[in-house]
Symmetry: C2
Subunit: 200 residues, 2 copies
DNA sequence: GTTATTCTTGACTGACCTGTCAAATATAAA
DNA sequence: TTTATATTTGACAGGTCAGTCAAGAATAAC
């Protein structure tokens, strides 16, 4: 019997995600969110509980999308090492000129980790997923001989995740794309077969 | 003839820095700042103009301290490569158990880069200084044979800065110290003389 | 068509926010 | 001591914030 909802929940989250991503949590007002989502106050509070709930939904969406993109890149490229390189270089590509928008995952950690356990949990699961994906790529690359046999895939995965996060910060600071590419290349070179002692 | 200031400006900045560092810019209220600084409202506004001015002063102080610590570490350690390793490992040491407090410089970039040109300028000069210091260390290490001759010091400096930033994000997320150490070791290994192709 | 249920709309609340004002206080030169 | 100047103090103002309330609107079962 109830009156059906007039707005699309997924699209509302999507738009809220855009606003949170742009301004962070604290600097985003509910008014901005409502305007972007195109819905009324009560609708938002009924659907998400409060600003915090909406933020968690948006962050979850962001991470899901991020990981999906990562896996798709893996599928689209011929070799795992090329995929890794592609993923790192994508940071430079996403910042064509001037400062990059930044990574919402990192933003959430930096802004909220000190006071929001929910965000911490989400962030950890997201990074764990990414790290594991890198680890699998390295393992496969090792099997193919694209990566040196002495490389420990666990630590290599951690290293690549760290590099990715560092690149995102550099991009946000406004580093030149060529600089980002150089760093990515440096990290990739650390995995190549020639160095016999690149493990932990 | 004027009545002299009763509070110590430097110490006030120091305390404000602590609060901003802990909560970020938006989530910090002037009330919190005043209480931490132990001064009255008008004193703060007279000395720093507004909240934004106080933030810039605090951020500047943070970066100066950060860079001083970096250079001191360089002086205290026998070899430049050991200094680099020390600097990277310090991130792990600063996060003994659980989440690290994080880096205020990164925090400022993530939170403010989109809307505050002053912060961007400060951040860039800070990172440039750090990058240059790394570059010099690598150059010296190369001269000593601790780093492979094919390593491009410019790119190595960028790479190390990126790694440092990535490590700080990982530490803030709550990565285990051993994991951070592993990543630092991985990055250092990329510089060692044995690999003949670790340049750009 | 009636009714129960939910969604939507817009006004509203109390709290908090940054920045300002004016008066009181303290100093150092004259 | 007088006086000019600056600091301190506490109250205050305008605006914005997240979240609530109540009434109107729309739907599906009956």
């Amino acid at each position: 019997m109830p009156r059906p909802r007039e707005f699309d929940r997924d699209e509302a989250i999507e738009r809220a995600m855009g606003v949170f991503w742009e301004h962070g949590y604290e600097a985003t007002s509910t008014e901005q969110l409502l305007q972007a989502m195109g819905i009324g106050r009560q609708s938002m509070y009924a659907a998400f509980g409060d600003k915090h709930g909406l933020y968690l939904a948006a962050l979850e969406r962001y991470q899901a999308r991020q990981n999906a993109a990562l896996l798709e890149r893996l599928r689209a490229v011929s070799s795992p090492l090329a995929a890794i390189e592609d993923i790192l270089l994508a940071v430079a590509a996403d910042a064509p000129e001037g400062r990059a928008r930044g990574c919402m995952g990192i933003q959430s950690i930096v802004e909220m980790a000190g006071r929001d356990p929910d965000v911490v949990l989400l962030a950890r699961s997201g990074t764990a997923l990414c790290e594991a994906a890198f680890e699998r790529m390295v393992a496969e690359a090792k099997r193919r001989g694209e990566v040196g046999p002495h490389v420990d895939e666990r630590n290599a995965g951690r290293f690549l995740l760290t590099t990715l996060q560092g690149l995102r910060i550099s991009a946000r600071t406004g580093a030149a794309p060529e600089s980002l590419r150089a760093v990515a290349g440096f990290a990739i070179a650390a995995l190549r077969p020639t160095p016999p002692s690149a493990s932990s």
